[in-house]
Amino acid sequence: MTAIAMPKPDEAVLARRMEIVKALQAIVPGEGVIHDETEMRPYETDALTAYRQMPLIVVLPETVEQVSRIMKYCHENDVKVVPRGAGTSLSGGALPLADGVLVSMMKFNRVLDIDFANRAVVVQPGVTNLGITRAVEHEGFYYAPDPSSQIACSIGGNIAENSGGVHCLKYGLTTNNVLGLEMVLMTGEVIRLGGKHLDSEGYDLLGLMTGSEGLLGVVTEVTVRILQKPETARALLVGFPTSEDGGRCVADIIGAGIIPGGMEMMDKLAIHAAEDFVHADYPLDVEALLIIELDGPEAEVDYLIGRVEEIAKANKASHIRISESEEERMTFWAGRKAAFPAVGRISPDYLCMDGTIPRRELPKVLAGMRELSEKHGLQVANVFHAGDGNLHPLILYDANQPGQLDAAEAFGADILRLCVEVGGVLTGEHGVGIEKRDLMPEMFTEDDLKQQQRVKCAFDEKHLLNPGKVFPVLHRCAELGKMHVHKGQLPFPDIPRF
């Protein structure tokens, strides 16, 4: 276990464990309450596997009423709750608490309503991201956000993390594609936001909920916007002698008013690892490789392929290949999509980071990473969503070597500090969770963080829902609520007044 500390378990709650089990069994009958250690084991971690913690109890409700009663009971009895979808969080968002009830939403797995006229689909939160597309693709529709875990991750988890993916450069993140939610507050109250219509009648709580990492409410129903699939898609595979050339090419494409469906970059180590693994016929004598996908009507795609090719040539591209068939396009992507497991083959373990930077800072950040790599004595492979500046450095380490996990985490933290320093952010799409929790002060002041925690207080005054995530220091709501006022004259007598 590593340095990130979770809140100290409440001994009184631990002592009442069997009493809580009985209370939950009265709410969720049958096998919906799990308290046997072996059966709880699969829930002890999410996709941030370096962190493990057995939950107090696992409960799998099947109805909104059950969720509401679980929450109400936990609220009244001061028991913490950790919501969980498919458990694919890369930031530890679903890491259990020793004194917390883990509420798995995976029995909420039904598609409730497919409405093609309104281009809306209503689903339960346990439906997978890809499951939505599967439900509508017979009419040519799809759900646009496509996190790489889309085959497994749940839409409820996508809401919690505001998930992105390769195509969000053109089609937006989860938050731009969600129309409505039903959720249960910590008190057990059920609230509906939005629907098949647009915008909010009051505060944009739908926007606030999206990306709130399971700290504000438990989502029980989701309405999303679906789109007709683009008529066609073609890709260019472009190699560059330096990463600077590649970075400039990205900027020039955007500058020309072209927003590709996807624009991904890989560095040398990632290119080689991917090529060795899937044999995508990537050029090996380049420092940077871009995959640029253009999608839309055929006439537009053909036209833009030509434009992008010109821009690539002007930026000293040494290799350019243009997909002439769907099969070839998929081959271009095969290496990129296999980049993580490919890196997994050349290193026993790796840590996947997730900062975002302004695009123009790419050369500077890459150079900085090379220096950091030497400092920490660990290798780093880079794949990134180049179009939106979202980096995924993969830090290679061996957990069996003493000190290497600590070194990898320190390296990762340095990379994220570098991202913030050049005007970027700690996390582009994986979430803060526990992983980046203690780095939050690198990006935010104490006042910034306090105001965020006050939002939490409006939803969950007792800090019972998923505590220990996102915020490095937990302040009690009563303390946050205090106002320090200084009565007196207007403190700026020279301010213009009329």
């Binding site: 809306a120 219509h197 647009l198 009648e201 009051g202 005007g423 980046k436 939050m440 207007l490």
Partner: protein, 396 residues
């Protein structure tokens, strides 16, 4: 009213709000005051005028981002980005003409506070979908930052989005970073005439469900200038692509009649008129803005016509109903009942005199747990209730 406070810096703005909180004296927050006839009227002893807090901090066309102070005039922002071949793709509408005021006024802060959008809402989103970062002052008199200057960012709660559309009741924006987009090379509008509302909305929904990448979809039962109905579908992008997609629509919608085509200039004028609801300008009748599921709008309008004489303009593929009622009455209960009986949504009163906007719920009333949650959120940002009290809901 006894004074207008006109800070010139972020610190002066913070100090003004800290003072108001200490003195328990509420403030009305204004930029150029262009939206004071919208929402519930606020009556306070002091006005906080942010129009001097103006200017662009950073504009990086290649990064597609713009950081600017809240009091910057919207018209200046639009000109600045247009000069670089870019635009605010959420197409913020101008309420001026509809409210019988001058056109072209308002600040970026006002557009943010009211989450403005336009016909392109259905493709590109509203202001909420373009705000990346925010610096604001809470009702506690504390400056806080949230979000960032990049599009992909999930670091912390999305406060920029939460404050967008909060009508200045949670915090006062000092500056913000917004996303800009390339201005499309070409635009054309596909026009069908003489369709009923049902047929028109059906055609619009079909177009929206196609791969034609529609960026505007409106049905005007009386046309733009009082004639046969017009069903309008806007296509934008590279020239060859627009022509290609126009043909796609021709074959997709062939059963609705032979289309006309408006090219760049005519198309631009038409969508500006729809964006700013120009057919309803020059009158004083109450106007409502109703958000519904697109395909449900004909049923909603039909239901309402059973008991009221109304004029409508349907934008957003039917999802936005601009509704002009008979004069003299506010009709809120009738409209909201018809809405809940035809699938739900929300109705906002946008044109009415001040007295009416005090007595009638301007925004759709919320069910009690949601209203209580919104109230708790307000209390967390503004415990003394000094920021625009009553602007959205009486007593909040």
């Amino acid at each position: 009213m006894d004074s207008i406070l006109k800070p010139r810096t972020a610190i002066e703005t913070r100090d003004a709000i800290a003072w108001a909180a200490a003195e328990d004296t509420p403030l009305e927050i204004v930029g150029q005051g262009s939206k004071r006839d919208l929402g519930r009227p606020v009556q306070t002893a002091h006005i906080l005028d942010l129009s001097d807090l103006a200017g662009v901090d950073v504009y990086e066309p290649a990064e597609l981002v713009l950081t600017l102070k809240a009091g910057t005039p919207l018209s200046e922002v639009e000109k600045l980005v247009a000069d670089q071949g870019q635009e605010l793709s959420f197409e913020p509408m101008d309420y001026g003409p509809l409210l019988g005021r001058e056109a072209g006024r308002g600040t970026i802060g006002g557009a943010f506070a009211t989450n403005l959008s336009g016909p392109r809402r259905i493709k590109a989103g509203a202001f909420r979908d373009h705000v990346l970062g925010l610096e604001a002052v809470s009702g506690r008199g504390e400056i806080f930052n949230s979000g960032g200057r990049v599009v992909k960012n999930v670091t912390g709660y999305d406060l920029p989005r939460a404050l967008c559309g909060s009508w200045g009741t949670l915090g006062v924006a000092l500056s913000m970073t917004i996303k800009v987009n390339p201005r499309p090379e070409a635009t054309a509008t596909f026009v069908l005439e003489g369709l009923s509302e049902e047929q028109g909305v059906e055609a619009l929904c079909k177009a929206m469900g196609s791969s034609a990448e529609v960026s505007g979809a409106a049905h005007l039962p009386r046309g733009l200038e009082g004639g046969p109905s017009q069903t309008l579908i806007r296509l934008e992008g590279f020239g060859t692509s627009v022509d290609y997609r126009f043909k796609t629509l021709e074959s997709l919608l062939s059963s609705y009649g032979k289309p006309g085509r408006l090219d760049t200039d005519a198309s631009g004028t038409t969508w500006l008129a729809i964006r700013d609801v120009l057919p309803f300008s020059g009158r004083t009748t109450p106007v409502w803005r109703v958000s519904v599921a697109p395909a449900a709008s004909p049923a909603f309008v039909r239901k309402l016509r059973e008991s009221m004489d109304i004029d409508v303009i349907l934008d957003w593929s039917g999802g936005l109903v601009w509704l002009s009622c008979e004069d003299g009455l506010s009709h809120d209960t009738q409209i909201r009942r018809a809405l809940s009986e035809t699938g739900g949504g929300h109705a906002t009163l946008v044109r009415a005199d001040g007295a009416t906007r005090v007595s009638v719920p301007v925004f759709e009333p919320q069910p009690s747990p949601l209203a209580a949650l919104s109230r708790r959120l307000k209390d967390q940002f503004d415990p003394k209730g000094v920021l625009n009290p009553g602007r959205m809901v009486a007593g909040v």
